[in-house]
């Protein structure tokens, strides 16, 4: 059943969007607070997510847990020798994250919460990914 297949993603997305808003991680104010190290709110949420993630991934790897289709869960490792792309690209992302106060997930969550002007940064971000696609090969990686 195709519909049920999509329903699964819709339900997980709905829970994700609800939590993004209710935990206030979509808030420009919370991002400012995070970069000023004034409160543990954002660091606590991200830090706890990493702890849960580390435990979950270790359980999946050690027990070779399969996904719903019976395939092994594999996470392709990133090539750490490409340090330039992570530092330079990461810094560009950080500039945008602090400026806009939202990363890709929260952009859509803010749109859904009724802040319709978020369609502008969403289109702008898509343009950014497109320009990277054009310039990518000539940038240091």
């Amino acid at each position: 059943m195709k519909i049920l297949e999509y329903l699964k993603y819709l339900i997980i997305g709905t829970v994700f969007g609800f939590i993004l808003v209710k935990s206030e991680v979509v808030s420009w104010f919370r991002i400012q607070e995070m970069f000023r190290f004034d409160d543990i709110h954002m660091h606590g949420i991200i830090g706890l997510a990493i702890v849960v993630g580390i435990i979950s991934i270790q359980i999946i790897k050690r027990n070779n847990i399969k996904d719903t289709k019976g395939n092994s869960v594999t996470i392709p490792p990133k090539d750490a020798s490409q340090w330039k792309r992570y530092i330079i690209g990461g810094s560009m992302f950080g500039l945008g994250w602090a400026l806009l106060g939202a990363c890709p997930g929260p952009m859509f969550a803010l749109l859904g919460s009724g802040i319709t002007v978020m369609i502008i940064p969403i289109l702008s971000a898509i343009a950014g990914t497109y320009v990277y696609g054009m310039l990518g090969n000539s940038l240091p990686h």
Binding site: W97, S113, S124
Partner: protein, 118 residues
């Protein structure tokens, strides 16, 4: 994506929290010094609203901010969820480098560039 929009519609519109965000007092003081006055919603209407799109600061935040997020996420090969949460959870050195990058950019913007824009 459709799900997260639906979920945030429920969380941020249907069951929206009417109270302003309980920010650290020092953040509020710093932002007021930069000229942010409206602390009522999830985002400052001074910068993120259709009205703000017509101002130089709002235009930079919405258009340049969005562009950098999109370009940077592709360049770095991931964003907050991809590198900071999933990548660090998988103990990837590349993700640690990317997160260090996120903070280099974020701190530059917060302390050096935002005071110029606002």
């Amino acid at each position: 994506m459709a799900g997260s929009v639906l979920g945030s519609f429920l969380g941020g519109y249907v069951f929206a929290n009417p109270e302003p965000i309980d920010l650290a007092a020092s953040t509020i003081t710093d932002l007021q010094a930069l000229g942010i006055n409206d602390f009522s919603g999830l985002v400052p209407a001074d910068l993120i609203s259709w009205e703000a799109l017509g101002t130089p600061a709002g235009l930079i935040v919405l258009v340049v901010g969005g562009f950098l997020v999109g370009f940077g996420a592709r360049y770095a090969g991931g964003c907050t969820s991809g590198h900071a949460i999933s990548g660090l959870s998988d103990l990837q050195l590349a993700s640690l480098m990317a997160v260090i990058g996120f903070f280099i950019g974020g701190l530059l913007m917060t302390y050096l560039i935002y005071p110029i824009i606002l």
